[in-house]
């Protein structure tokens, strides 16, 4: 087995968080290796304008999804390859609200974060600037912005215009969405051409995935990003300190062999399913329940966003396939409101599935097949869809565990994901989809239908101030294992009702700064 010389840090998963960490630590003079289970894509040769071919961007290894409300996995929530799911995410780049960090204090639900909005604010600014987020001139919802978005908003597409007109009619505030695709050139990246294939990978590099931003810059700065490496164990020494990772590496000729990478610091950034899976797979005699799991919370408290979509048919072509699907947004229903029969709330955003996905959604939801399906699809370009981002509450019964009897191609136990909505989550879903329908009808929809959907993963290794009720501290350092950090969406304490990517990246940027400072004090 090849053992690579010790580096300062090894980052497992070069996605939304991992790429930020690799880049920032390398810039600070650290020797860093980033390991990713998937390929290192070149968008200009690897990405096609084809829904089926581009499913290769998704994490499609064997997994089981269960519970009362099983989560849709694969395409929806996780990515494989450098850039992770930011390569195919819908690009809404939103901040959490101040209240999201204190739901326990304010609303009596969930737990408070060990971080406040103010702790993250400078990092939100930093990441937005680095990615070149295009957003509205003013942000009418929480939190108040100190700085304008670095780039101006994109033009409305048909769905955005429908949503805007519906909101105008109902007195709901809307804004062009803050999204991670360029509205003007940035360095060698061109502005968006509105081709609308964002969820299948961007061929132009206008989309600010971490693949073409942080990861690219990290390599330029001297970091090593090693693709096709599936990490299956975090190694610890006799004192219990993390000393590196062991992984299987797939070579270009298809052969597979095991390697080790030694590092002073191990950072796991593999997202809410693979991160807990890796910690659980790293169980040893010293850690029979898995690494960093003295709280028993590794793999627990998984959250998603209730993401039902309501589609409406309009008399004129909407051309929902044009321009980035994320186009307009409202967060008027984000905060707890005593007039509601639930606490916390939701955002409403435009969506724009391509024909294959739209046909699947309609066929499944409406039970259409045969001539009626083909006839229904004639109206494809007349439909506009509004999606929900409904907050869910962390429940210990929702989460990730290892399968007892099923293994993947490497012989590793596959993850079993369990999810059920809580009552409050369901009420948010009902209220949200009702608002979505009202907006579409106010905009002149002739008919509507609702599709159930889920999106985003958050939690399963949450952060906190108390080792008994959290897996990592506010700086993403595991309570139990010196030298081991967890930094990705799995440290979320609450889900908020904003797409999580920007917050994941802000947390990673902050963690990098904390690591750099700790390194200077020799307190890693």
């Amino acid at each position: 087995m090849t053992t690579h010389d010790e580096v300062d840090a090894v980052v497992v998963g070069v996605g939304a968080a991992g790429a930020v960490l690799v880049r920032k630590l390398t810039d600070a003079g650290w020797r860093v290796v980033g390991l990713d289970a998937g390929p290192h894509w070149d968008p200009q040769t690897d990405f096609l304008s084809d829904e089926r071919a581009m499913s290769k961007l998704f994490w499609r290894d064997r997994r089981v999804t269960g519970g009362e409300d099983p989560i849709e996995l694969a395409g929806n929530v996780t990515g494989k390859g450098v850039g992770g799911s930011t390569v195919h995410y819908s690009m809404y780049a939103l901040r959490l609200h101040r209240s999201d960090f204190q739901t326990h204090t304010r609303d009596g639900v969930g737990s408070d974060w060990p971080l406040s909005y103010d702790d993250l604010e400078p990092y939100y600014d930093e990441v937005e600037h680095e990615l070149g987020i295009a957003g509205p001139v003013d942000w009418p919802w929480d939190a108040p912005r100190r700085h304008r978005y670095p780039y101006r908003p994109h033009q409305l597409n048909g769905v955005g215009e429908v949503m805007a007109r519906g909101c105008d009619a109902l007195g709901i505030t809307w804004r062009p969405g803050a999204i991670a695709t360029l509205s003007a050139p940035k360095g060698d990246r061109p502005p968006c051409v509105y081709r609308g294939w964002c969820l299948s990978g961007c061929t132009t590099n206008a989309k600010s995935s971490t693949l073409v931003t942080y990861a690219k810059e990290a390599v330029r700065a001297g970091a090593e990003i090693r693709p096709d490496c599936m990490v299956h164990r975090v190694d610890t020494d006799a004192t219990g300190r993390a000393i590196g990772v062991t992984y299987v590496r797939r070579s270009a000729d298809g052969t597979v062999h095991e390697e080790q990478q030694r590092a002073r610091v191990v950072i796991v950034s593999a997202y809410s399913i693979e991160t807990p899976r890796l910690l659980l797979m790293s169980a040893s005699s010293g850690h029979p329940d898995g690494l960093a799991n003295s709280s028993g919370l590794v793999g627990k408290g998984l959250m998603i966003h209730g993401s039902d979509v309501v589609f409406g048919r309009f008399p004129e072509p909407v051309s929902q396939f044009k321009a980035p699907p994320p186009n307009t947004i409202t967060q008027d229903f984000y905060e707890t409101n005593s007039a509601h029969d639930f606490v916390r709330g939701y955002s409403i955003e435009t969506v724009g599935p391509l024909p294959g996905k739209f046909a699947q959604l309609a066929a499944s939801t409406l039970g259409l097949w045969g001539e009626s399906l083909r006839e229904f699809m004639y109206d494809y370009s007349h439909y506009a869809g509004l999606g929900l981002v409904g907050e869910t509450q962390a429940q210990d019964s929702n989460g990730v565990r290892l399968s007892r009897d099923e293994t993947d191609t490497f012989g590793l136990p596959i993850p079993v994901v369990t999810f059920s909505y809580a009552e409050n989550d369901r009420r948010i879903l009902e209220a949200g989809t009702d608002t979505q329908r009202r907006i579409l009808e106010a905009a002149g929809a002739q008919t509507t239908f609702r599709v159930s959907d889920t999106a985003h993963l958050m939690g399963a290794c949450r952060m906190g101030d108390d080792p008994a009720t959290s897996v990592v501290d506010r700086n993403c350092r595991t309570w139990d294992v010196p030298g081991l950090y967890v930094c990705d969406g799995s440290v979320f304490v609450t889900s908020g009702a904003s797409n999580p990517s920007l917050t994941i990246q802000a947390i990673a940027a902050r963690t990098a700064d904390q690591l750099i400072a700790a390194g200077r004090r020799d307190q890693l």
Binding site: Y151, Q155, D168, P190
Partner: protein, 294 residues
């Protein structure tokens, strides 16, 4: 027969060039040349923009159809030094000012009709992606310049007796700069001033305008020198801006490649747009030269 033709030519020349001093005749010819060239370039820009907008309203065809006729009359006027086509060019130029005013009003209505149009905070966003606010006013400037190039001496004399032509031209330049400045300003803001050079016209055009305005009211040598420099700078900005916009097209995905170029031309930085600054700058310089020769 030869005599007859030349007499007729002379007759027309009397109506439009007669009475003007040679430097003034030259100035008017230069104005006709600048107006014609600018009109033709503006047509290209106008066509791209209205095509991009899908000619959603029939009114959008009006400038596209009218403009070549104006340019043709202007070309004839310019080539013949005002001996032919002058009257028609003058009339058409007057009509063009009317088109400009209607277009301006319609563009504002187009912006207000967009979603959120009743909310002041959405106005800027709608202006960014609606019909360009001040674009039709470019036709106003060109129309006026066309009129200036063709107006008979008898009609212009009372005005010129009170205000010398160079100061008139300064005033004209000063009046044309604010809409152009506004247009450049909000469109470069939409581009987030991603290239620092985008600030250049935004910062310096008001100064150039102020200098022209000053020279329009004062005959002092300093004011005239400053206005001269400002006109030269404006023309230079126009040339540099065109270069930057062409570079901007190259930076877009696909750049100048076949199958991408037309799309990028329509959606990228408008390459012909900065040329208006060349036109304005040259008009200012021409006025100064006419005066010097006086």
């Amino acid at each position: 027969m030869f005599m007859k033709r030349s007499r007729r030519r002379l007759g027309r020349a009397t109506a439009f060039s007669g009475g003007w001093s040679p430097p003034m005749r030259r100035l008017r010819t230069q104005l006709a040349v600048i107006t014609t060239a600018s009109t033709a370039l503006l047509w290209l820009d106008n066509l791209s923009e209205h095509y991009r907008g899908g000619f959603e309203r029939e009114l959008m065809y009006v400038p596209i159809l009218a403009n070549p006729v104006v340019a043709a009359a202007g070309a004839v006027t310019a080539v013949t030094g005002g001996r032919r086509g002058g009257r028609l060019f003058g009339l058409l130029s007057a009509a063009q000012t009317a088109i400009a005013v209607v277009g301006f009003v319609e563009h504002q209505r187009g912006i207000l009709k967009k979603p959120g149009g009743n909310q002041p905070r959405q106005l800027l966003f709608n202006a960014w992606y609606g019909p360009p606010v001040a674009a039709p006013l470019q036709y106003l400037g060109l129309g006026l310049m066309g009129v200036m190039a063709t107006v008979p001496q008898s009609a212009a004399a009372p005005l010129l007796a009170r205000i010398p032509v160079d100061r008139l031209m300064r005033a004209f330049t000063a009046l044309n700069l604010p809409p152009l400045w506004a247009e450049i300003g909000y469109l470069h803001a939409r581009g987030s001033f991603q290239n620092r050079a985008q600030w250049l016209p935004v910062v310096t055009l008001p100064l150039a305008g102020a200098m022209s305005a000053l020279a329009a009211t004062s005959d002092s040598r300093t004011a005239r020198t400053a206005a001269q420099a400002a006109s030269g700078w404006t023309a230079l900005l126009g040339a540099a801006g065109t270069g930057f916009h062409l570079y901007g097209l190259h930076r877009r995905y696909g750049g100048y490649r076949r199958g991408s170029f037309l799309f990028n031309w329509l959606n990228g930085p408008p390459a012909p747009a900065p040329l208006q600054m060349i036109g304005l700058g040259l008009a200012g310089l021409a006025a100064e030269r006419a005066v010097t020769r006086r």
